[in-house]
Amino acid sequence: MNIVVLVKQTFDTEAKIVLDGSGNIDPTGVNLVLDPYSEFAVEEGIRIKERLGGEVTILCVGPDSAQTAIRQAFAMGADKGYLIKDDQLAGGDSSVTAKILAAALGKIPHDIILAGFKSVDSGTAQLVPRVAELLKVPHVHVVTKIDIDGSKAVATKEIDDGFEIIEVALPAVFSAQQGLAEPRYPSMKGIMQAKKKPLETWTLDNVGVDAAAVSTGKTKVIQYTMPAERKGGRIIEGEVPDAIKELVQLTRNEAKVI
């Protein structure tokens, strides 16, 4: 089974977000990690390999720093990886990333493609349906379980008020939701072996994508702003029954939410 996992490196969720003078996010000192949703996908990929045999390949579009994220996936048990980086990619958005990944996937044998359903930084959740569309293969978005049977797979997709059981033919793309597979903690052996597993860097040329076509995305972030400081901290003092009464009154009369 050729399993390919699309991963992303993101800010650690605890990172303090600070804006620089020009409305951009200041990356200095921020801890970069393998995106948690990518981790679910990597773990599921490795479990599929353990069940059915095969190889897990990691694919990532990002800067040099993303190598540590790929090595983290190696330590968990992935076998090899490709980092697609190119200086001309600075202005990309999901549509650009999807094109690049689809082109790269054209060069890598794949039966199953896994990815996180969104990422914790920009979290647009667009990637998987776009990649599936470009490859003209089925996809199941926001998945909590995958069962593979030969050339078919049955996935459990989370919907607003429950879930759907969906069958697709392989190859297909699946996006991981929390609950799909709890990521393992790499063993020492895994950590040691990760250093030696093959990680190749590809440019847009290697992937066969015309730089001009992806130099700008369809959308652009013109600036970032911080949310308004929430004024909280008001404790209603007094005897509990009186305090409750006062609070309830406030929700009607002051906050006007009841």
């Binding site: 969720t13 605890e14 977000i17 996010i25 999901s94 549509s95 914790v120 930084d121 979290g123 959740a125 667009q126 998987v128 776009r130 599936a132 569309e133 293969v137 089925p138 996809h139 199941v140 978005h141 926001v142 049955v154 997709k157 989370e158 919907i159 607003d160 008020d161 429950g162 759907e164 059981i165 969906i166 069958e167 697709v168 297909a172 929390q178 700008t216 369809k218 959308t219 652009k220 972030v221 013109i222 600036q223 702003t225 911080m226 949310p227 929430r230 909280g232 901290g233 008001r234 404790i235 209603i236 509990v240 305090a243 009464k245 609070l247 009154q249 929700t251 906050a255 939410v257 009841i258």
Partner: protein
Amino acid sequence: MAGIWVFVDQKDSKLKKVIFEMLGEGKKMAQHLGEDLSAVILGKDIESLAGPLAENGADKVIILEDDKLAGYTSNVYASALTALIKEHQPTVVLFANSSIGLDLAPAVAQKLDTGMVADVTEILYGDQIVFKRPVYAGKAFAHVVFDDSARPIVATIRPKMFIAPEPEAGKSPQVVKAVTSEFGDLRQVIRDVVRKASGRVELTEADVVVSGGRGLKNAENFHVLENLADVLGAAVGGSRAAIDEGWLESQFQVGQTGKVVAPSLYIAAGISGAIQHVAGMGSSKCIVAINKDPEAPIFNMADYGIVADLFDVLPVMTEEFKKILAEG
């Protein structure tokens, strides 16, 4: 051609509240661009929905009915909708940030080779239309614009961020029956659908959410929360702790890795207020916190807090809300 389109998420012929919110904002956008507003529905036996859509601002209601559209499947809907868009060339297509919207919008955007912005919480109108959306779990907002060549603009809208219009009762819909033969190949086969009916309003739709955390101590105690939710007509949610302990099912988790909610009133009982939970409810209009630990971080962001044992507070609070609601 032009037009602001609102794609209508429908389930069992019931319209989600967010659709009306999108129509409200869609109207604003239509006026800004000097275009008209259409609601677009795909499905089977959906004509009855045209009325409410028109009453809430849709100039036109575009209906595409076909047996193949009886239930949502990704590629079939995406292909059909893409065909309609290619035919009518709207400027903007809005989707709800629901599980259908999340799935359909990117597929359609890719088929049309256009851009998409997701989870929009505010729209700013100037020389360009700027779409504001939360990033980094709400720690910052990204302001997104579309390249002039990227059309239509595809966006998914977060519920409860925009305002539904005052419905014009009795306004008759201008129905446009759409026809297409582009249904694509059936890439997905739905084997089963399991709806977890809780009888309560759904978390992301609710106006009021009552949420419990570790302080509830066990699953049985949640009835104290449920009583309050009943009185308030609220949805019940929980922090990660409550889900991990097995007191609530995962669909009720509010937080960074669960659902993001923005009700008018969010009551957090026995929740400490870790950043991961706050990421899921920080945009609520009014936050009430009940915790016996005065140092709990949630008090820092709550509009009103009570430091007391939730088991002492909730029953009394339920009675008080009952009384005040009875007053009318």
